[in-house]
């Protein structure tokens, strides 16, 4: 047992689990700021509400489980889940939508499975997927990128009125727009991609807005990599496989598929690669396993985007790959020193039987 701990010494080290999660929260700032800049105050209200709900839910569960409340909140995992879910939902979502999502994330996905470290599924994505299936209408209505300061943008009071749920489930028409992926998904079969873009199907500036948000997530991801909060394996494998699949599809049939750049920047790909898929608890655990896990998510994203029923697919791809984690973990054990081959599969090692004889 080590009586010395890295974080208590002078060496470079990310610190304890709570600080690790705090860094993730910090790294979401560029993305959140850019989102807010383009999509208005609704982003902030989403996130703040989600954080409040996340903390209260976590505290309630801890009370029921008779565990220390403050110490658990300090692990910052509820904070991160709340930020991620808040940032994924359409800006200015009504409170009940957020609440249902957070209950699914914190209570169902995390604590019913035994709490932090035991959850097989990514909590934020469980919340997101549940909402997407149950409430498809409010979930696919994204506000138009009217900008934070422009005169058309809804004012803060409009938004507050909206999130109370008093204005009904749909947003005023002037606010809404589809996401780029969504619009492209719904493009009629007969229309060529080039023709489609020529009709300017999206509100003005939407594509630029989406691209810049993606780049902001990328910046946050770089910070996480630099701070060694996450490993390079999952993002690299996931982005690599998205790029590869998109390039192949685009090369084969450029008229009906989005360009690789579009797939990379047009949706939640980068957000997913750095903030969702890298959730250590629900990801494959070995370094080699993470490569398979990331690549699987990338391929599933492309599969769902091109042939599935949902425009963006990060949540489903991540959840599906969460299912495969035990399997990946069994088959990607590294070769231990002194062994000629790694152990694979789930049979007990032959050596132990020998020993028992």
């Amino acid at each position: 047992m080590s009586l010395m701990h890295a974080e208590q010494t002078a060496i470079r080290h990310p610190g304890d689990s709570g600080r690790l999660m705090a860094w993730v929260a910090i790294a979401t700032l560029p993305g959140i700021i850019t989102l807010t800049w383009h999509f208005g105050w609704g982003v902030i209200t989403n996130i703040l509400l989600a954080i409040l709900m996340g903390w209260s839910l976590e505290a309630t569960v801890m009370r029921l489980r008779r565990r220390p409340i403050v110490a658990t909140l300090r692990d910052n995992s509820a904070l991160v889940t709340a930020i991620l879910l808040g940032a994924s939902l359409p800006p200015a979502s009504p409170w009940w939508l957020l609440l249902v999502g957070m209950i699914a994330a914190i209570i169902v996905a995390k604590h019913l499975f035994g709490g932090l470290g035991h959850n097989p599924f990514n909590p934020a994505m469980v919340g997101y997927a549940l909402l997407l299936i149950s409430f498809p209408v409010p979930m696919t209505q994204w506000t138009a990128p009217l900008g934070l300061l422009s005169s058309q943008a809804p004012s803060l009071s409009d938004i507050v009125f909206h999130i109370t749920g008093l204005s009904g489930t749909t947003l005023p028409d002037t606010w809404t727009g589809a996401t780029a992926l969504d619009a492209f998904k719904n493009k009629p079969e007969t229309v060529m991609a080039s023709e489609f873009w020529a009709t300017s199907p999206l509100p003005e500036g939407a594509r630029t807005a989406w691209y810049s948000v993606s780049l902001a997530w990328l910046a946050g991801g770089m910070l996480l990599l630099y701070q060694r909060i996450i490993g390079w394996q999952i993002p690299a494998a996931m982005l690599g496989s998205v790029l590869l699949a998109a390039t192949v599809l685009y090369a084969v049939d450029p008229s009906h598929h989005g360009s690789p750049l579009f797939h990379l920047l047009g949706g939640a790909t980068l957000f997913g690669a750095f903030f969702i898929a890298t959730d250590p608890v629900s990801a494959a655990t070995s370094r080699r396993g993470k490569l398979f896990y990331g690549a699987g998510i990338g391929l599933l994203i492309m599969l769902i985007r091109t042939s599935g029923g949902y425009p963006d697919a990060v949540a489903f791809a991540v959840l599906l790959m969460n299912f495969t984690v035990p399997f990946i973990d069994y088959y990607t054990q590294p070769r231990a020193q002194g062994h000629s081959r790694p152990n694979h599969g789930i049979k007990p090692p032959p050596s132990s039987n020998e020993d028992r004889r």
């Binding site: 701990h5 990310p14 689990s17 690790l20 054990q333 020193q337 007990p348």
Partner: protein
């Protein structure tokens, strides 16, 4: 390619060696009382051969090795045996063990063994000497040195590795000892290489010990004859745990010790410099192991440094001599901060395994923050020098899922604590792994117990059968003798009945003899196999040696049975013809 010559993982904890390495090696004051545990080595405890009130001299044997894996214990001061009693010993859970307590007379009268010249002595004599001088590995495992020295009988050893890496923070015993006694260490390496038949010697040392490296270089230039094995000094970059036996072999030779195997399986033998010096002293000066070098350090001592102290000295006395500021101590650590354990008090003796004692203040080594859930971040995997997945092992160790833990190679864990060091959730991983290993070993032991009883029963059966067979053989021999005598006297009536035996009976006898000959060959093979298994177990110190001894005895009985039966059958054939 450089990557190949390397073990995976590893960490760079702060070394904190400076303070104790600066001071020269000192001698600790002669203690007025020593407490010598009967077990200071891996294996069977020694049996006391002195009684209270008896006068003993320094170096006199006070307890005799028992069984194959064991070693003698010697008085470390001269004086009177006070008692043989249970006393707290260095142990993570503060256990007591039986110890011989000696009250000193302050004269330090020595009794040495006869001096030997290793270049001219027989191997057997040298190996006997190591056993009688109580030499054990000082690197931490305290494995009796004579077994390692004799390993050449079963394995071909090509390289002897001197493990002077000393990678764990705070510890500087080898570093400081090498500065003053490099000559002894080099000679000890030659002695051991001579015994095991190694063709070359490699000294592995980390690059943060320039003075020790200089001393070694100087003594390499100065010593050695032409027919000695060549010695190479290999300076390696500092990284924990390079001093792990398997890790050092990987770094120096790019060979991997097979899982559950020994370095000897890949032609390597590893020794710690302190052991080599002790071995040379035992041979050249006839000096049994009565002292060792220990590092006394930590921010709470005023005079940190290394002292050569008599075994059995009490830790509190050693710390007092190093001017401990008792009020400031927050943790007392035996061994290094990564693999060592905390002591609750210091009324315990220095034993052969004690290499370092750290009196740390709260600022220096703060108490560990509370354990948090594993977030599977994989930091531990990156640090593991054995290429394991500690996060998975932790999961299975916690849920007592032993099969899965073994599938994830629990037994390849060297308990280095690198994973604990980096874990952001402060999980004492190595402690979990040690506990899981103990649990598995215990279960196996329980399963073996039943087996052991069966083996004992088989031995009894075999003995009875052997006795019966021998009786029969004696009867046949007597008969043959009588017949021969009567033939000599020319009495032909007795031989009358034999002529009536027909050829058929003769053929049956021939067949019997053939079957017996086959049985004899099989019994001989069984004895060989049992001998091998026993030798292996005593080399590794693992496995149930008692049980293997019983099995060997059974195999020997069976061999004697078949031999007796064979000779009886032969006599019978003679008698019949």
């Amino acid at each position: 390619m450089a990557r190949h010559f390397d073990f995976p993982g590893g960490i760079h904890p702060p070394a904190r060696k400076q303070r104790s390495a600066e001071a020269p090696l000192r001698s600790a004051p002669l203690p007025s009382r020593v407490v010598l545990p009967l077990q200071q080595h891996i294996g069977t405890p020694a049996e006391p051969c002195v009684s209270p009130g008896q006068y003993v001299r320094t170096g006199e044997r006070i307890a005799i090795a028992q069984g194959m894996v064991s070693t003698d214990i010697h008085a470390s001061i001269s004086g009177w045996v006070r008692s043989i009693e249970s006393h707290p010993v260095p142990h993570p859970s503060g256990e007591r063990a039986s110890c011989i307590v000696i009250d000193g007379d302050d004269k330090d009268e020595w009794q040495r063994l006869p001096v030997l010249n290793w270049r001219q002595s027989h191997h057997a004599e040298l190996i006997e000497r190591l056993r009688h001088a109580g030499i054990v590995g000082l690197g931490g495992a305290t494995f009796p040195a004579q077994i390692k020295a004799a390993i050449g009988e079963h394995h071909r050893i090509d390289s002897l590795v001197v493990n002077a890496a000393e990678c764990e923070p705070y510890i500087t015993t080898d570093d400081v000892m090498l500065r003053t006694h490099a000559d002894d260490v080099v000679e000890g390496a030659r002695l051991m290489a001579h015994l095991c038949g190694a063709e070359r010697i490699l000294i592995g040392i980390e690059d943060d010990k320039p003075e020790a490296i200089n001393a070694l270089e100087a003594s390499l230039r100065a010593s050695g004859t032409d027919d000695d094995a060549p010695i190479a000094l290999r300076v390696i970059a500092t990284r924990y745990p390079s001093g792990g036996e398997k890790q050092l072999i990987k770094r120096l030779l790019n060979r991997e010790v097979p899982s559950r195997g020994l370095p000897a399986d890949i032609g390597v033998l590893c020794h710690n410099p302190g052991t080599l010096r002790a071995a040379v002293q035992a041979v050249r000066e006839g000096r049994p192991m009565v002292s060792r070098v220990v590092t006394l350090t930590g921010a709470a001592v005023n005079r940190p440094g290394n002292v050569e102290a008599r075994l059995g000295s009490l830790m509190c006395d050693l710390l007092a001599a190093a001017e401990l500021r008792e009020a400031e101590v927050s943790r007392l650590i035996m061994g290094g901060p990564l693999m060592g354990f905390e002591l609750s008090h210091t009324e315990i003796p220095l034993v052969k395994a004690s290499n370092c004692l750290i009196a740390a203040t709260q600022d220096e080594l703060p108490t560990a923050p509370p354990e948090q859930p594993c977030i599977r971040c994989g930091a531990c995997e990156t640090a593991c020098p054995a290429g394991l997945l500690p996060q998975q092992l932790y999961w299975y160790a916690r849920s007592h899922d032993h099969d899965k833990a073994e599938l994830f190679n629990l037994f390849d864990c060297i308990e280095c604590g690198a994973c604990d060091f980096v874990c952001p959730s402060h999980i004492p991983l190595a402690q979990y792994f040690r506990a899981a290993k103990d649990e598995i070993r215990f279960r196996r032991h329980e399963a073996l117990k039943a087996e052991h009883a069966r083996h004992r029963f088989e031995l009894r059966q075999a003995r009875m059968e052997r006795e019966a067979a021998e009786k029969e053989a004696r009867r046949q021999a007597r008969k043959a003798a009588i017949r021969r005598r009567s033939q000599d006297q020319g009495l032909s009536e007795d031989s009358q009945p034999t002529e009536t035996t027909d050829n058929a009976a003769n053929a049956v006898m021939e067949d019997d003899i053939k079957t017996l000959r086959i049985a004899q060959a099989a019994a001989r093979a069984a004895v060989k196999k049992a001998e091998k298994a026993l030798a292996r177990a005593s080399e590794t110190g693992e496995g149930d040696i008692d049980d293997l001894e019983v099995q060997l005895a059974t195999a020997r009985e069976n061999l004697r049975t078949t031999e007796s039966r064979l000779s009886a059958a032969r006599e019978a054939r003679e008698n019949a013809s």
